[in-house]
Structure formats: structure tokens, C-alpha cells
């Protein structure tokens, strides 16, 4: 068997592929954050809780309404996105004129409250959610065993990321959005309803987190803390990519997934830290992030 740096080649390829899969999750999660920050200037610390709500909503639809995974994939983003819209109207919209810090504190506090409520209601040990029958099984790639469901997650994440990027960069709606972040009064003067657009954007960012939650439900434990661990890494991804840069967060998400995957082979103990080491280096060398505008 061929060795690369003392690691059997099949193991290394397997890890690279796994890194890519995790990267897809990071990309999808950080995309929602980047959209919200880019257009609202709000650092949405509730994102982890909204991801968790997505997974729980999928479970509730299955258990209480008998609606399967595919229904959840359609309905959950709408439902959770709507809760985002309500949240934005009732609370977050009051903070736009204040410092970033207030938005951060509000969303962080809300995240903790939501998590606490779910823990009281559902306990901390998690709920079962099965991989849908259509996506069970695995492909034998020779060097590793690739579960079909993981392949599906990568494809779904890529499609979502590309679609979001196209909408914001290439369509008229996206142009309005970008213009509104540059100069909201001027865009409003042209007859565009900016507050409503901002509200819907927040709802859209939340819906992305909720889809992430639905995709995660079959492979991770569905429990109230599930967003907490992920969200810290995802924030690092957003910071490295450049706050608010959509393409940046997509590329960084995938890239860091791979870096993390390789670390898990060579020195597993450091796999949670490596992303933050990179973050520190990037912040020192390029404070605006790899793809951010200074």
C-alpha cells in the first residue's frame, strides 16, 4: 500500500473527501450568516439555535404530522424562516441604528433562551431521526465507503450556495439588496420598500440555517445543544472568509473543511483548534478576511 507522509493513501483520500463533506455544512451555515451580516449588519448569534430549530421542526413534522424528510426539506425553511421574520420585525429591527454589539448581545441572548426552552421541553439526550429510505446505503469507492446521504448533503449544499450567490450577484433583486446596504435612503427614494426587503433577507438567512438543520438531523444527534458547537466554527469560517462576503464564506467553508479533515489524520487532538489558529493568522495578516473588503 502506498504511503503519503506515513499515512496509507486510501485513508488520506477518504479523509479529504470527508473534509469536503464537512466543508459543505460549514459553507451552507456560514452563507446564511454572511447574507445576514452583509445586508443587515447584524451578527446573528441565534444562527446555531435556528439550525437546531430546523432539525427539531423536521422531527416534529415526522412525529406529529407524519410528514417525511422531503416534506420537511420544503416546509421547515418556510416555517423557521417565518419565525425569523417575526423576530426581525419585533426585536432586531429596533437595533439597526445602534452599534453591532447590541445586535450581537440580543441574538446571543435569544439563542440561549431558545436553547433553554427546547432543553426544558425535550430534554438533553436527543431524539431519533432516520435517514430517508431513498438515501440509505452507501457507495464503495474502493478507498472508502461513502454513504449516499453524505453525497446528497454535498450536492444539496453546493446547489444552495450557488443559487444564493447567483441571486445576490446576478439578479435585479440582488442588485437592489446590495444597493440598499450601500445607501438605503437612496434606494428607498427609487420606490423600493427597503425595510421589507431587509426583513425578508433575514428570513432567508434563517431559512438557510433551518435547511442545514434538516440536512443534519439524520446524521447528528437531534438535541438542543447541536447548534452550539457548530456555530463557533462557522463564525470562524465567516471571519476568515471576510464578514459579509458570500463567495468568501463558500470557498472558506469548503477549504477549512479539508484542512480540518487532514488535521484529524495527522494530529486529531488539534482538529478543533486548527481553524482558530488559521483565523488568528488571517486576522493578523488581512484583518478584513481573505475575501472581505477593508
Amino acid at each position: 500500500m502506498d504511503d503519503i507522509f506515513g499515512i496509507p493513501a486510501p485513508l488520506l483520500f477518504g479523509q479529504l473527501l470527508l473534509g469536503l463533506i464537512n466543508g459543505a455544512f460549514y459553507a451552507m451555515m456560514s452563507l446564511g450568516l454572511a447574507v445576514i451580516f452583509g445586508l443587515l449588519n447584524i451578527i446573528n448569534f441565534t444562527h446555531g439555535a435556528q439550525f437546531m430549530m430546523g432539525a427539531f421542526a423536521a422531527w416534529m413534522l415526522l412525529e406529529w404530522a407524519g410528514l417525511n424528510y422531503w416534506w420537511a426539506l420544503v416546509l421547515v425553511p418556510i416555517i423557521i424562516g417565518f419565525t425569523g421574520v417575526v423576530l426581525e420585525r419585533l426585536m432586531i429591527s429596533r437595533l439597526y441604528k445602534l452599534d453591532h454589539l447590541y445586535g450581537l448581545l440580543l441574538t446571543f441572548g435569544l439563542g440561549l433562551i431558545i436553547e433553554g426552552v427546547f432543553r426544558n421541553q425535550f430534554g438533553s439526550s436527543g431524539l431519533p431521526y432516520r435517514i430517508p429510505a431513498e438515501l440509505q446505503g452507501a457507495w464503495d469507492l474502493g478507498f472508502m465507503f461513502l454513504p449516499i446521504y453524505r453525497g446528497w448533503v454535498v450536492i444539496a449544499a453546493l446547489v444552495l450556495c450557488l443559487a444564493t450567490w447567483l441571486i445576490i450577484e446576478k439578479t435585479r433583486l440582488g442588485a437592489y439588496l446590495r444597493a440598499a446596504t450601500e445607501n438605503a435612503p437612496l434606494v428607498q427614494a427609487f420606490g423600493v420598500n427597503v425595510p421589507r426587503m431587509v426583513t425578508l433577507t433575514y428570513g432567508f438567512g434563517v431559512a438557510l440555517a433551518a435547511i442545514g438543520g434538516v440536512l443534519a438531523a439524520p446524521i447528528y444527534s437531534v438535541n438542543p445543544q447541536m447548534g452550539t458547537n457548530l456555530i463557533i466554527v462557522v463564525f470562524a469560517v465567516v471571519v476568515i472568509g471576510g464578514m459579509g462576503s458570500i463567495l468568501g464564506s463558500i470557498i472558506t467553508g469548503f477549504g477549512l473543511g479539508i484542512v480540518e479533515g487532514l488535521t484529524k489524520v495527522f494530529y486529531p487532538e488539534a482538529s478543533a483548534t486548527v481553524i482558530f489558529v488559521i483565523m488568528a493568522i488571517v486576522l493578523l495578516a488581512r484583518p478584513a478576511g481573505l475575501f472581505g473588503r477593508a
Binding site: 431519533p128 446524521i219 486529531p268
Partner: protein, 407 residues
């Protein structure tokens, strides 16, 4: 004053609950369940532990007429919070004994305080072997389980079934290391080999596929999971997903409970092996106990912590009755010595005894998770595979290194 569920939830602030003013003398005998009411171990202990202790108090009061009051506090898995509540309970609330204490760090902190104030610690939720070993206290009891029992029950039994090469996936902190080290010892003692281990950062890991792949490429017959709670559940789900268990590879869960089996669901969990000292459907007595305590569990399963808090509280109260309430209030040490002198017998665990170092001798049961076809109800999840006798399930007294034990 009876404690209501609503008050109990307010305990999250870290402040102990007091029914009224402090009372050192007179009034009911007051015991405090100090547990995790809001964190990762809530479902394994928390409200279930509280229910078990209350059940014991009710049965004892009904039989003897001695009034007992059980209060509850949330230590939030923080030793400083736990220590504060313990001091307040002992000094101002007139609490005579503290029960449960999942999370060994909190348990050790509280044990020191109880010793200083000559009160009692009934550690039914304490897992670390240090508690009845190097850091043992004459005022403390370790009742339900310890990591030695888990490691021996699972490690030994699997090697004897021919699963003799192991790879560990280990949470990178003291608890994970201890579990891996203990199990490795039994695996090697029984003639097995440890091929390697991957230590993952705790608690920042949610995806275990890399480590599972490493385990797979080691070609070990058993993958030992030295972790607990959500990490364990993620590991098991993902091991199934990546086809790890398709061949002859077995997963050995070194700390898994009935609560985890239910959370995973039988389709995912079936076939897994784990060691516990209690299961509600073990025999007629455990079933009778589970039936009695059911109304206090509010739809949850009667788990080992519930049983442990019941058993240890009942035994403590028997010792108190033997000594007389006044003497029991005066010296926690006397009560614990009495607990060691008289034999234990309760419906949850059957007959047994508490050893000199405070460890309760109780058999370790190796359970296998049932398949969905075998299960007859939502809580019917385990079947008994093997039993380690009580004397063998506990670490030999001489190896513990407890300073006050003469060997």
C-alpha cells in the same frame, strides 16, 4: 413545605431552594438532591434522580412515621456552583445529606465540604473511581456504578466472546482517558490487543466520520467508544452510516444508558452492548419498583440514577432510624459507618453491602439493545447478556489507594 415542579425549575439560578427559614434542629429530616437539572446529564440524572429520592423518602416515612423532606438543586456541572449550594444547604438549610452528584468534579468538591462539616454524601451519580479510591472520604458513599465496573463489564465480556482487537475513539479529557485506560487494561488482561486510539477534541466535535474511518482502517474487531451523551449518539449514528458495523466489527459503548438507547431508537441502537447496574425490567422486584415510581417520572424511563438515588436514600434512612434521628443529625460519619455495618436490600438492586471505602458492591450487567421486533413497548429496549458478580465488579479494595482503609 412540599416542593413543586415549578420551584424546581427555578433552581437554575444556582441558588438552593429553601422551603422556609433555616432549621438546624427539629422539623423533618432534610436531604438535598444536587444534580444536573439543565445541562447535558439532565436526562440521565436530574428529575429522575429527584424522583427516586422522593420515592424512598415517601416509603420510609409511611413505614416509620419519621418525616423526611427532599429538596433539589442544580449544580450546572460547575464545581464552584455545587460547592456553594452544598455550603448553603449544610450551614443554613439544615440539610443532613447530599444525594446524586453526577459529574465527578462537582462530587469531589462537595465531598470535601461534607467531610469538613461532618455531613453525608450519597454519591449515586458519581462515576469516577477516585471517589472511593485516592480521594475517598469516610463521610461518602459511591452507590450505583463506577468506571471500573463499566470497563470490566464490557471489556472483559467482549474479549471472552472472541472480540480481541480494539481501537478506541476517545473524548480528549480526563473522563475519556480514564475510560480508555481502564478498558485497555481488561482487554489486555484477557488476552486482547489494543491497536490504536483517536482522541478527539471535547466538546467541540460533532462529526466523527474521520475517526471512524481510522478505526475501520485499523481492522480492529471492536471499536470502543470512550465517550458519553450526544457524542456517543453521534458516533453510533455515523458508524452505522459509514458501514462500520456491516462486517464483524462491534461497537462497545463504555458509558451508555437506557436513556441513550431510547434516544437513538432501536433501529439504530440494536445490537449495541453496554454495562449498567440497573434495568427496570430485570426481575420482579425491579419491575415493582419501576411501577411504584412511574407516576413521579412524568413519562420518562426509570433509569439507573433514579434507582440509585432510591436505593442509597432508603439505605441512609434505615441507618438513621437505627441510630436515632438526633444522633444522625449530630454526626454524618456515624451514619455512614452504620450504613457500612448493616446489609443493603432494596427493590431496585436487591441485597448487597457497602464496603469500607464507601463503594457499594453491586453486580454489573452486560446488556444488549433489542431489535425493533423483540421490543414490546417504548421502554422495552435491553436484554441481559452476562452478569459480573458484585465482588468482581468492584475494584479490589487494596488497589483503590483509599487512605483510611487498612489493607
Amino acid at each position: 413545605m412540599p416542593l413543586h415542579r415549578r420551584n424546581l425549575l427555578l433552581a437554575g439560578s444556582g441558588l438552593a431552594l429553601a422551603g422556609g427559614r433555616a432549621r438546624a434542629q427539629g422539623g423533618p429530616l432534610r436531604l438535598g438532591v444536587l444534580t444536573d437539572m439543565s445541562g447535558p446529564y439532565r436526562d440521565l440524572t436530574g428529575p429522575g434522580s429527584f424522583a427516586g429520592a422522593r420515592q424512598a423518602a415517601e416509603e420510609f416515612s409511611a413505614a416509620t412515621g419519621i418525616a423526611v423532606e427532599i429538596i433539589v438543586g442544580d449544580h450546572q456541572n460547575k464545581p464552584d456552583v455545587g460547592a456553594n449550594i452544598a455550603r448553603q444547604w449544610f450551614d443554613r438549610e439544615g440539610v443532613e445529606a447530599i444525594i446524586d452528584l453526577p459529574n465527578s468534579a462537582v462530587a469531589l468538591a462537595v465531598s470535601g465540604i461534607a467531610r469538613e462539616k461532618n455531613k453525608v454524601v450519597l454519591g449515586s451519580g458519581v462515576g469516577s473511581t477516585v471517589f472511593s479510591g485516592a480521594q475517598c472520604s469516610p463521610n461518602s458513599v459511591q452507590f450505583t456504578y463506577d468506571t471500573y465496573m463499566l470497563a470490566k463489564g464490557t471489556g472483559d465480556a467482549l474479549v471472552k466472546q472472541g472480540a480481541d482487537s480494539w481501537f478506541f475513539i476517545t473524548a480528549d479529557y480526563a473522563f475519556g482517558h480514564a475510560l480508555q485506560a481502564d478498558t485497555s487494561r481488561f482487554v489486555e488482561a484477557a488476552g486482547g490487543k489494543v491497536l490504536g486510539a483517536a482522541r478527539y477534541p471535547f466538546p467541540a466535535t460533532t462529526d466523527f466520520s474521520s475517526f471512524l474511518l481510522q478505526a475501520q482502517s485499523s481492522r480492529a474487531k471492536v471499536v470502543g467508544l470512550a465517550n458519553a451523551g450526544a457524542d456517543l449518539i453521534n458516533c453510533i449514528k455515523q458508524a452505522r452510516e459509514f458501514g462500520l458495523t456491516r462486517g464483524s466489527t462491534k461497537l462497545a459503548c463504555l458509558l451508555m444508558t437506557v436513556v441513550d438507547s431510547i434516544a437513538l431508537g432501536l433501529p439504530e441502537a440494536q445490537g449495541l452492548l453496554m454495562t449498567e447496574s440497573f434495568y427496570w425490567d430485570l426481575n420482579d422486584r425491579t419491575r415493582a419498583f419501576a411501577e411504584r415510581v412511574k407516576s413521579k417520572r412524568q413519562g420518562g424511563v426509570v433509569h439507573a440514577s433514579c434507582a440509585g438515588c432510591y436505593g442509597v436514600t432508603l439505605h441512609y434512612l434505615k441507618a438513621v432510624k437505627d441510630l436515632g434521628v438526633e444522633r444522625a443529625r449530630a454526626s454524618g460519619l456515624d451514619v455512614v459507618n452504620r450504613m457500612k455495618a448493616i446489609p443493603c436490600d432494596d427493590d431496585a438492586f436487591g441485597p448487597g453491602r457497602i464496603r469500607e471505602d464507601g463503594r457499594k458492591l453491586t453486580p454489573g450487567y452486560l446488556f444488549q439493545v433489542k431489535s425493533p421486533a423483540e421490543s414490546r413497548g417504548p421502554f422495552d429496549v435491553h436484554k441481559l447478556v452476562a452478569t459480573t458478580p458484585a465482588e468482581e465488579a468492584a475494584r479490589p479494595l487494596a488497589e483503590g489507594g483509599c487512605p483510611f482503609v487498612r489493607t
